[in-house]
Symmetry: C2
Subunit: 603 residues, 2 copies
Amino acid sequence: MSRTVPLPKAKQPPARIQVQHVEPIVDCGRYPVKRTVGERVEVYASIFKDGHDVLRASIRIKPPGASRWQEEPLRPLGNDRWRGSFAVDAPGRWCWRIDAWTDRVATWQSEVRRKVEAGQEDLSGELLEGAVLLGRDSLTVEEGLAADAGDRHGQTSSPAYEVDVDRALARVGAWYELFPRSWGGFRGVADTLPALAELGFDVVYLPPVHPIGRTNRKGRNNTLAPGPDDVGSPWAIGAEEGGHDVLHPELGTEEEFDALVARAREVGVEICLDFAIQCSPDHPWLKEHPEWFNQRPDGTLKYAENPPKKYQDIYNVNFDSEDWRGLWDALLEVVLGWVRRGIKVFRVDNPHTKPVPFWEWLIAEVRRDDPDVIFFAEAFTRPAMMTTLAKIGFGQSYTYFTWKNTRAELVELMTQIVEWSPFYRPNFFANTPDILHEYLQHGGPPAFAARLVLAATLSPSYGIYSGFESFENVPVRPGSEEYLDSEKYEVRARALDGALLPLVKRLNEARHALPALQRVDNLRWLETENEHLVAYVKDDVVCVVNVDPHHEREGVCVIPVALRWPPAFEVHDVLRQETYTWRAGRNYVKLGPGEAHVLKALV
Amino acid sequence: MSRTVPLPKAKQPPARIQVQHVEPIVDCGRYPVKRTVGERVEVYASIFKDGHDVLRASIRIKPPGASRWQEEPLRPLGNDRWRGSFAVDAPGRWCWRIDAWTDRVATWQSEVRRKVEAGQEDLSGELLEGAVLLGRDSLTVEEGLAADAGDRHGQTSSPAYEVDVDRALARVGAWYELFPRSWGGFRGVADTLPALAELGFDVVYLPPVHPIGRTNRKGRNNTLAPGPDDVGSPWAIGAEEGGHDVLHPELGTEEEFDALVARAREVGVEICLDFAIQCSPDHPWLKEHPEWFNQRPDGTLKYAENPPKKYQDIYNVNFDSEDWRGLWDALLEVVLGWVRRGIKVFRVDNPHTKPVPFWEWLIAEVRRDDPDVIFFAEAFTRPAMMTTLAKIGFGQSYTYFTWKNTRAELVELMTQIVEWSPFYRPNFFANTPDILHEYLQHGGPPAFAARLVLAATLSPSYGIYSGFESFENVPVRPGSEEYLDSEKYEVRARALDGALLPLVKRLNEARHALPALQRVDNLRWLETENEHLVAYVKDDVVCVVNVDPHHEREGVCVIPVALRWPPAFEVHDVLRQETYTWRAGRNYVKLGPGEAHVLKALV
């Protein structure tokens, strides 16, 4: 609400210095901007005052948990714009604001200096003023001009703003998704961890590990008539054995789970659990807390629907329940329980179908206790909700990447993601248990290679779901994006032996070695004169991908003059371990189906 | 400050509906957006919620002085964006916000409709729910689907925003500046008013009309040794006779001033007074209120300086005086006094050297009493201050127009002005008593004609200072923008007989007749293939100006396909009263030095 009149009720008149157009802020400061540990926050503001006084300004910074404000200088860039920066070296919510003030001593010195330079001789009045300002009995011109400035008068402060700082994994990471029941449960997964670490994966994400309901259990290929041996969907959470805070007995013991988490820590990989707020008909909460669920007027509980679709195996909680506080606290306690067992990364199922204020509250509560915790939003919905979930606290988000296969689609996608980058961090999964895109269904191994390189080089975080590396490409039926014999509904014997794994390893090594691939806002598209060749540069790394999975394609890769690279330079292909000589301008490129160059330019 | 945790202390959980990215607002709503009476405010917002409920939204509007909120609908545009509008039919501060809510009845109807369409037969549970929702004992499907929706549940409101509405003169007007002492005082000006009205002027602006100091009075051509007959600068305000609230006796009597204001009203012209907050050494306030001025430690008052320049004939007030409240109130009372005498337009001298909060307070106080009052900022300074003065309440502002003469300079200027147009209204004075640009000094009558057409067609408000219409072009010395024998320091016999006046009249008629010339945000530049030919279109009006005052120039005026005008159409030149046939694409144009076309396209 704009202030109609700044009622001058105070003893002092309102502050005269204006501090405007502060950056970086998100939605007028309603949400924090995001950074990861070790980054700097570059701060800008317009600072000015009526008249010709000498102004000074600084950034005041309060790290998470600190009680004192630190200070960093702001310096004028000209035309009333000022710049400064501060480093964020710990995760959590940082608070900052801008202070600006008049330096009366420097103002006096500036005026006297101009008078001296203009040859004005009688400065007695000025020296009288200077003496009062500096608290001295008398003053010579030389003493006055040499005096330390540093006076702070009429200070104005901007509103306080926040930076939400995550550890680096929130920005950069290679993810692998697997269903533990296909890998021998917790023990089998633990045995696989060293090999996953060796491949360069940073996070292993497990779909829900809780007991699975029996009532209305789904059969293989999502059928409604399960056999007695059908294992059900892990997202039908809850059974006699317990709900969201309990492990599925068939996956292993409590000790085996803890051993898995410990093993992951040893080999430098993190375990990510799924947080899906929905209950099977057998979830204990349905009996213990029927008031937490949607009820019909006759008191019966309502299963989930999106008419005309019915989800008889799922009950959604009612976030507006009369006991919404009890429900919210119980959900928070579920997450905190897993945090206490060493889980610091959560993939959140369908957050866009739950209230935004609930997520803002839950994430802040969890991260106040442990700012290392990262929430990854599985939201595939319209941009307003996608971006809002990022703004209110999700540290990473799924994207539309799986559906963007042409150069034009990728350009549109990345333009949006770069624009959102102050608060939204993408994670490019190349496939998921729900999304086998027709490009992969029909493109064969070259399609998988191309999509892998795009995901791993366009986005600092990317992932694959188990089976991708073996070119799994058969849908449950034509036109569907669901897998045939999906692991969502049955056990599949899995092993880490896919033919794509060597490329995965080389890409993960390159991503570690090349900081250029760890950012998203440094992307620039390059001309190729062939629509099938998608080329881009990030700082000193050039990528060219043939997105045609069926044909060899040739074209050029144009290095624009604006990059100011030398006329000729070497590029090292980190995938092929070959070195070529390139030049500013057009470079001939020929790539087989789905092949790619990832070139470190020696510039 | 971003809200860390939306603490759920209330009985109800926090509202789930999100209202974001509301337009039109200025600086996050800190300042009001500006409109004039009769315009509409087009409102946009992103409105969404988790899940699939049917949402509704409206704009709530409170006109100035009203106690009740009105309501206008918002309608969805798709992708979570909504649009609506409201009319502003009175001057003053309007308040508005956005409300959004869930319509549970419509949500229920939508779900039931989809179930019916899918052939679902047992809807007993749904009908039970519907009956409860509609407060009935029982319900059939037909009754339920036919029921009036209109339920409002879980309402969310945006913050309240403001619109500052001025009367139309704040946006559109032709101004004429004259020194009354050169026109026979108030009586002479009153006699000239009918002719000025006949020429199409809307405002006659008078430099300060108050007593002029004798001490340190400036002589002719700004010399320091005045003769006994020198009249002094009207901006050296205050003498024995009084200060800002008194008329200079040499200009006429109180009655003659009131008669001038009354005569102006009769002929449809407004008198604009100058409000210059500075005092001559003889201003009564220096004796009555020495505490309102800057003082040296020895108690003497300090005249104005901008080292090494000294302004011994001027004392500036000290807005931070211990009695700042008394000073501010006295300045407010000065303005209110003139408002009570019928003055509704003030040109404010150098507002950028006085505190921003002072202006915000003063303008709001005056306009709360009388929202017809318009303040016109004489600020020539950096953009941050120029825009801030507009945002905090000035209804019109001077611009950099006088210094922008080439096509490239004009494009840059207008780009900035269009960007600022939600809160900043330009007034293009083609000259002022302080600014005789070298383009006018050297260009002769064609330069004056070109600048007149540019000012009158680029900006809805424009003005000339007396002498412009007679091609006055001699500077006080080479390289100066000051006039020789400037009226600022002496009396010049003036009459309304300049050779440019017929063009002024035709332009003012065109500006009245063509709404396209009454806006600034409808501007689009046109290609001419000749840098001397500056061409632009505003809606259906095409202007082409030869800004070369020395040579005839020929080129084309390209009507772009994107305008979707017919292949061939007539254009009527409102300056020459001729009609030509033009076409989409290139149209041959030849213009003499400084000549212009102002073409109404019949499309």
